[in-house]
């Protein structure tokens, strides 16, 4: 019964999202308040039915209903309850339903918090979001229903892929999708502004908190994915430049650029068309990512099972949404031109540089991801673009970006002169280099150019980010949430730079063969393989090794890596054991038995690796603080709330 109810609820939600789109958009176009008034209740209704559909699928998973094909393929009666729920988004169909649920949550939030906005504008925003919802629901119903029955029912399910049976990966998709889908809000705001033919500073003020929220969820989602790959795939790498990782990274880059560009549009009323374009790009890149992951166009370890109809559908959807919004852009953006320049070394200048670099990096990553396809299309042959190429494409633009970041925090709007707080920057730069060199010499015992550059920039950015908050605290001045958030987010970037360059410069990875009693030394730590024993988990058997780690004879920790064999899928998977402290990770993963009780083991020393993810969390925290700034909560003056008749498109243009 549950799956049929689920389908029915999803069909109702689809119809409601169509009416949300129709009444929201045409109502605003024709200036009919009664039509526009339909959009909000339609959002609420859509949300209720999507929740119902989602709950039906959760119910089928929790109750082991193996007469549902999707449940039979992705779950098993032995699977722990937590993973039964997480298995819902373990494959294509269910993860689409998750996407739809998150989109409807964002829609409800927009409907609830947009009452202060002009009615035509909020109706258009909800209308555009309705179109996107309808597109995804039709996709699910038509090509990818998770509610199909399996007759006769399976005795038991085929189980969730063992590598997905993990906490970080269970919560990674909801976080990442919240980010991906959240960019649809900025996208809808941009489309609504273009449809209205009017874009003022208030628009940027309304759009910015939504964009920051989407961005911070995506930041955390990407960090979780990286953390998962680090310990679960057993390789100890933290970023692989895999097409699917790139698909999540490109919208993040565009979103980061958008947040910065929005602040210029909000303060100065310039960069309007560029901001619009970034809002379109951030969501478009999310959609392109969806296409790449689900169409089978590129080879990736993360790809979902593919089906050409699905690829074709998403491509058609891309053409309609991205093509449509870019057409609208080509038509309307020229009219939104705002006069107003800026001086060299003003805040606007630094933010423009930030935008250009971030957009260039996003374009390079897109090129790197798609170039195998381009080469194949041109008949040049098959190529694959490896991590070294991406690393160079990423690093080269990042270095100037960090310099501009450290200085730009102390620039002023309009004036091409740095603030007084910037004075200590220059000697702080020297201090950062000295500090980095001495850490390298004293702690790691060797100078490494990448480490030196990364540490120096990292420390410099951290010092620079602390300057203004410290000055204000000392002088007992107020510190706005926006300023504090910006400084904290940039501090996170500094931490990330230190972590990433530290681990890449000083990591040690060894594959060794050890017998019980044997030991191996890296970075001053002795890893002694004591014994291996069989243990049993809820749905797997495992061999667990005891590895005693000592340093200079003193016990450090006991690591217990496992090699798990999952009963249902008959696959093995290595569960690494990691000892963590503030300075380094010690990492042991079991390989294969080599006979005679010997095991191959991968032993790694990863200095500072935690600062990569900690940096990302601090960035997200900074975003959260900035989004709570008072100015985003102040109500729009009542005058703006009056119901606007369709405005003369030219009257309001460039009103900033």
């Amino acid at each position: 019964m549950a799956p049929e109810l689920g389908i029915f609820a999803l069909i109702l939600a689809f119809i409601l999202s169509l009416s949300q789109a129709f009444f929201g958009l045409t109502g605003a176009w024709r200036g009919k308040p009664v039509w526009m008034a339909v959009a909000r209740p339609a959002v609420t209704g859509q949300f209720v039915f999507v929740v119902m559909a989602f709950s039906c699928l959760v119910y089928s998973f929790v109750n082991n209903d193996f007469s549902v094909l999707y449940v039979a393929r992705n779950s098993n009666s032995q699977l722990p309850l937590f993973y039964k729920v997480a298995a819902l988004w373990g494959a294509h169909e269910g993860s689409l339903l998750l996407w739809i649920l998150i989109l409807s949550i964002w829609s409800v939030a927009v409907a609830a918090f947009s009452r202060a906005l002009p009615l035509t504008f909020s109706s258009r925003v909800l209308g555009v979001m309705g179109l996107i919802s309808a597109g995804f629901m039709l996709f699910t119903l038509w090509t990818s229903s998770p509610f199909l029955r399996l007759i006769p029912a399976a005795q038991d399910g085929a189980d969730l892929n063992p590598v997905l049976q993990d906490f970080a990966l269970a919560i990674h998709p909801p976080m990442l999708y919240t980010g991906y889908v959240g960019f649809s809000v900025a996208f809808a705001f941009a489309c609504a502004a273009m449809l209205e033919g009017r874009l003022d500073q208030n628009w940027a003020k309304w759009t910015r908190p939504w964009t920051i929220f989407a961005w911070l969820f995506q930041t955390i989602g990407i960090a979780l994915g990286s953390w998962w790959a680090y310990y679960e795939l057993g390789w100890g790498g933290w970023w692989f430049w895999d097409p699917v990782e790139n698909a999540s990274f490109m919208p993040w880059l565009a979103g980061t650029a958008l947040i910065h560009s929005l602040s210029v549009t909000e303060k100065r009323g310039i960069f309007k068309s560029w901001t619009l374009l970034l809002a379109i790009f951030a969501f478009s890149l999310s959609l392109v990512g969806t296409f790449l992951v689900r169409s089978g166009v590129l080879v990736s370890v993360h790809s979902f099972a593919t089906d050409p109809t699905r690829g074709l559908y998403i491509l058609a959807f891309l053409v309609l949404t991205i093509g449509g919004s870019l057409t609208l852009y080509a038509w309307r953006a020229p009219k939104l031109y705002a006069a107003g320049g800026f001086e060299l070394f003003s805040r606007e200048f630094f933010l423009l540089v930030n935008n250009v670099i971030l957009a260039a990096v996003a374009a390079l990553v897109l090129w790197g991801t798609l170039s195998p396809l381009v080469y194949e299309l041109l008949g040049v042959g098959k190529i694959s673009v490896g991590p070294p190429v991406f690393a160079v494409m990423f690093l080269v633009p990042m270095l100037p970006l960090m310099v501009f970041m450290a200085i730009g925090m102390h620039s002023a709007w309009r004036r091409g002169k740095l603030t007084a707080t910037a004075k200590p920057l220059w000697w702080l730069a020297g201090a950062a280099v000295l500090l980095s060199a001495s850490i390298q010499g004293l702690v790691f015992g060797e100078l490494h150019w990448l480490g030196l550059i990364g540490f120096s920039f990292g420390f410099w950015i951290i010092f620079s980010a602390l300057l203004e908050p410290l000055r204000r605290l000392r002088q007992k001045q107020t510190l706005t949430a926006a300023l504090l958030g910006m400084c904290i987010a940039h501090l996170g970037v500094g931490m990330f730079a230190i972590g990433a360059s530290g681990v890449e410069s000083y990591k040690i990875e060894k594959d060794v063969s050890l017998k019980p009693g044997g030991s191996f030394r890296i970075a001053g730590y002795d890893f002694k393989f004591l014994s291996a024993a069989n243990v049993r988990g809820p749905n797997y058997d495992a061999v667990q090794a005891e590895v005693q780690v000592t340093r200079g004879g003193k016990a450090v920790t006991l690591l217990e890596p496992q090699k798990r064999h999952f009963w249902v899928q008959q696959t093995s998977n290595s569960k690494a054991a990691i000892s963590v402290n503030w300075a380094r990770d010690l990492f042991v993963a079991m390989g294969d038995p080599l006979g005679d009780n010997a095991w191959s083991m991968r032993i790694q020393y990863k200095p500072l690796v935690r600062y990569i993810w900690l940096g990302a969390i601090v960035m997200a925290l900074g975003g959260l603080i900035a989004a709570t700034d008072r100015r985003y909560r102040v109500k729009v003056p009542a005058a703006a709330q009056r119901l606007a008749t369709p405005p003369d498109p030219n009257a309001e243009l460039g009103s900033a």
């Binding site: 790009f281 166009v297 080879v299 690829g311 491509l315 852009y329 194949e376 294969d592």
Partner: protein, 179 residues
């Protein structure tokens, strides 16, 4: 204002690319080998099990044979090992192993523990022979006909089905042609 049309134009190019990517006749796993139809590169290497013996494909001229590239470091090779053992039992063609970028002791241990499906295993320490053959990774399996030409290349682990459907018909055809 043509510059505002630029993003749209770029997007059109992207759509063309994606439409090409969706072409159902395109096989993303196919890595065409420039070697197909060309003479198999010759090699003379030491035997993994006995360094004093030489393994060379020159002695196999006139015979259809299979060259299987593997290494003890390669997880997928372990996966295909069972299938190779079963195929060796059929005694259809000689199977020559090319142990690629490996350590001799580990390889010996592998063959004694897991069984040896090969008629002989050439030990390619520096991977130079593998480069001659255009090996991308392990495991890869090549089929060479009686005239010494490479007629088929298969990437990813060998299975009974692949042997049945891809190799046996080609072996039969090569023999008919050679006869």
């Amino acid at each position: 204002m043509w510059k505002f049309l630029l993003p749209f134009a770029a997007f059109v190019a992207l759509v063309v690319l994606f439409a090409f990517g969706l072409n159902p006749s395109r096989d993303i796993h196919a890595l065409p080998s420039p070697l197909i139809g060309k003479p198999a590169p010759e090699f003379a290497l030491t035997d993994v099990l006995d360094p004093s013996r030489v393994v060379s494909n020159a002695t196999l001229k006139g015979q259809v044979y299979v060259l299987n590239v593997w290494g003890t470091w390669c997880v997928a090779c372990r996966q295909e090992h069972e299938a190779l053992l079963a195929i060796a039992q059929q005694h259809v063609v000689p199977i020559i192993g090319l142990d690629y970028m490996d350590e001799r002791e580990k390889a010996k241990q592998w063959l004694t523990q897991l069984g040896n499906p090969y008629n002989a295993v050439a030990f390619d320490t520096d991977g130079r022979t593998a480069i001659d053959w255009g090996v991308y990774g392990a495991p890869e399996t090549y089929l060479v006909d009686g005239k010494g030409r490479v007629i088929f290349k298969f990437i990813t682990p060998m299975t009974a089905e692949v042997w049945q459907h891809e190799f046996l018909p080609r072996i039969a055809a090569a023999r008919r042609e050679g006869a």
